[in-house]
Amino acid sequence: METGAVLRRRRPPRLQIKGVTKRFGGVHALRGVDLEADVGEVHALLGENGAGKSTLMKIVAGALAPDSGDLWIDGAPFAPASPREARERGVAMIYQELNLCPHLSVLENVTLGRETSRLGVKRLDAPRVRLGQVLRDLDVSSFTGDTLVSELGPGDRQLVEIARALCLDATIIVFDEPTSSLSAPDVDRLFRVTRRLIESGVTVLWISHFLDEVKAIGNRFTVLRDGETVGRGEVPETSTDEMVTTMAGRSVAEAYPRSSRSPGEVALSVQGLAGASGPREASFELRSGEILGVFGLVGAGRTEMLRSLYGLDPMTAGQIELRGSAVRRPRPRRWVELGVGLLSEDRAREGVALDLSIAENITLSSVRRLANRVGAVTRQAKEAAAEPWRGRLSLRAGSTRQPVRDLSGGNQQKVALARLLECGVDILLLDEPTRGIDVGARVEVYRLLDQLAAQGKAILMVSSHLPELLGTCDRIAVMHRGVLGPARPRDDWTEDAALVAATGGTR
């Protein structure tokens, strides 16, 4: 009798995770994760990029199976074999890239795949009533079940997904970076909706980089670092500084080659840049012979800043000066002619042409220079032009005829850099230049960048890997929600300070 009463008083947590591990090949993505989320709470899951948050959430969603460890929902063992099974147990995922059919109405999206019908004809009355109830409960009045999803903005589309989760009787809703593409009013509305969700007993797992937002909405938090639970606590009782310290933890000693550099003239000056795709306010001066780092979390608008600057996305405001003369209407081709090259973060699609040879890739941007008297470009000419880069960048390839697809990520990146250098650029805008490259090749890329800076090239390097910026850059600026902060010498930065600035915390 006693124990029964105690059990009834001490309800099991809604979601319990104990000792979960997961490895991909030789890499430990998760090496022992514990988490407990209660009924009716917003539980924030914190961690830097690569800490293992996405892997953990895929396990909860049934998309991955853990190697070891256990999960429980409301005290009952939970080992979903498929996303469908997880859904049936009440888990709903709301991903960053929303899963909706834009050509269908809200109601059709909410019922998709579980339509009730008679002789194939849809019976929508009951679901329509249910959806209306859910939308009223959430206090959403900006759309109805008959609105086409293509007519809704990102904030409303997210609410459609939440409504779908509720119509499916979800008890655990996982938000993956829910505010990264939302405007400020939409964020406020999402907060209101989330509070209503937890009042009705739903458990919300909130994955976010933005600590200010965690402070505003979270009840408790769990911190992951390198695939381990390293901290947990009550949000109101913990300062953002403490959270940041727990997230960053160690300082990894990596080898950063660094020769003496002497920054010279301002090569590229950008004032008040804003773009349609996200950057709101970015100003910086890039000097020749220096590496300027731009830190920020995924979704802060760093890539979009580069794309707007380079004319790939529309620029809505700002002045650009190149070596003292104004550049109006920036266009990629014009930039290359002016000696400014951009290296995309998406190497496979925008960095190299995978099916072409090394020689063809390296000469792709400068091929017109190689034309002979009758205007033809021979393979020999391309290979002759590309050959020196093989030694200079220590490309691990037998010949420049090899297709780039056969190279490792690091060598592919070197080919992409060689393409920019071959067409004579002296200002390099690099977006995540070491993404997806193993450690050994990274160091080679760092060495190359160091050499280029020592030769007087101006380099702007965007990265979400803080240690590499602290190791290679002369100055660093931090971007947060589309706004680029002031660039300060790297000695003025600590990991903590940069993370605080990037997460919008107060110092």
Binding site: P102, S105, G113, K122, F143
Partner: protein, 342 residues
């Protein structure tokens, strides 16, 4: 249910947008009619000629009903013309062998559905792109038609199938009181009625049934449809079989029109069919396209052909015009959708 009293983008707005989507094709049709009304005065704007055009719409129109489903699901079907030829040959052979009109017509429809089943099977089982698969069956079905027809036209008694494409159909099958009271403008080729009824049924299928919603969902966002539990492969297979059957039906009527089974008929018709669907507002990237739009598109092209013939415009001008209209329609559509930002 709560009354929808708030000024929200609800059902009314959805209806308004559907109408707006059809304004373009409809305007195009009006422009073409007005143009030839001026250029080709001899009888172009007559009831008789309207019936002629309607009859000329039937083959492409019927096939376009099926193609709308395929294009809406994000696919494409290039085998339509060959399926029409195959169906016409199969129907003729069956008639020649002494079977009645109804079983022969059914066999023709089945031949089209078989081509569709091959298309759907290859697209879903081998995960091949529909363009490649149907490019293959474009050749294979044409070859099968020639093989069955021994590389010749197949003569056969067409019976009442002939009536389907006749502008002056034999009304004696109708009950007396209808026959006497039917106004002249309603005396259309039965094929036109068949096309109209098929279009109505198909529009209902597309809008009101689970199958229609799944078709749209697959074309709109296939991974999401799969994630939500839509049986994507099964639905795609059904779409191709349905479209093949519609092409088969078109082939049966083609037989009725020609009164022979012709393995070389309807060459290149697949492009007219795709053009009709696209002029009607469909996007080849899937998710859009309505039956009514495809019907307007088919009618517009038949009107254009008819007007050009009546006014003595050479065939090549007509071909250039059709090409221009297709590109123009898609450009307009792109501008509109760019603004809406789907």
């Amino acid at each position: 249910m709560e009354p929808e009293d708030q000024p929200l983008p609800g059902r009314g707005a959805a209806r308004a947008r559907q109408i707006a989507d059809l304004v373009g094709p409809f305007l195009g049709l009006i422009v073409v009619v007005a143009l030839f009304g001026v250029v080709a005065p001899e009888g172009f704007l007559s009831v008789f000629n309207a019936k002629t055009i309607a009859t000329q719409t039937v083959i492409v129109g019927l096939a376009a009903i099926g193609a709308t489903f395929i294009i809406r699901s994000g696919g494409i079907d290039l085998s339509v013309g060959s399926a029409i030829a195959l169906a016409s040959v199969v129907t003729a052979l069956s008639m020649k062998a002494g079977h009645g009109e109804l079983p022969s017509a059914l066999l023709g429809v089945l031949a089209g559905a078989a081509v569709g089943a091959v298309n759907g099977g290859l697209v879903t089982l081998l995960k091949l792109p529909p363009f490649i698969v149907t490019l293959g069956t474009l050749g294979a079905a044409r070859g099968a038609a020639k093989w069955l027809g021994d590389e010749q036209k197949v003569d056969a008694p067409s019976g009442w199938l002939k009536q389907f494409m006749s502008k002056n159909p034999d009304l004696s099958v109708l009950p007396g009181f209808i026959r006497e009271n039917v106004p002249d403008w309603l005396v259309l080729a039965p094929g036109v009625w068949l096309m109209g009824l098929s279009a109505l049924a198909a529009a209902f299928l597309l809008r009101r049934t689970v199958f229609g919603t799944w078709t749209t969902a697959i074309g709109s966002n296939e991974p999401t449809a799969r994630l939500c539990g839509v049986p994507v492969e099964r639905t795609k297979f059904a779409i191709y079989v349905f479209a093949g059957a519609m092409a088969g039906l078109a082939g049966v009527l083609q037989f009725g029109r020609l009164t022979v089974g012709d393995p070389t008929t309807a060459m290149g018709k697949e492009l007219d069919v795709i053009a009709a669907v696209v002029i009607g507002g469909a996007s080849l990237s899937g998710g859009t396209g309505t039956i009514l739009g495809a019907m307007i598109g088919a009618f517009l092209m038949a009107t254009l052909a008819n007007g050009c013939n009546l006014s003595g415009v050479p065939n090549f001008v007509q071909e250039i015009l059709v090409g221009g209209i297709i590109v123009g329609a898609v450009t307009l559509d792109g501008i509109r959708h760019g603004r809406r930002g789907v």
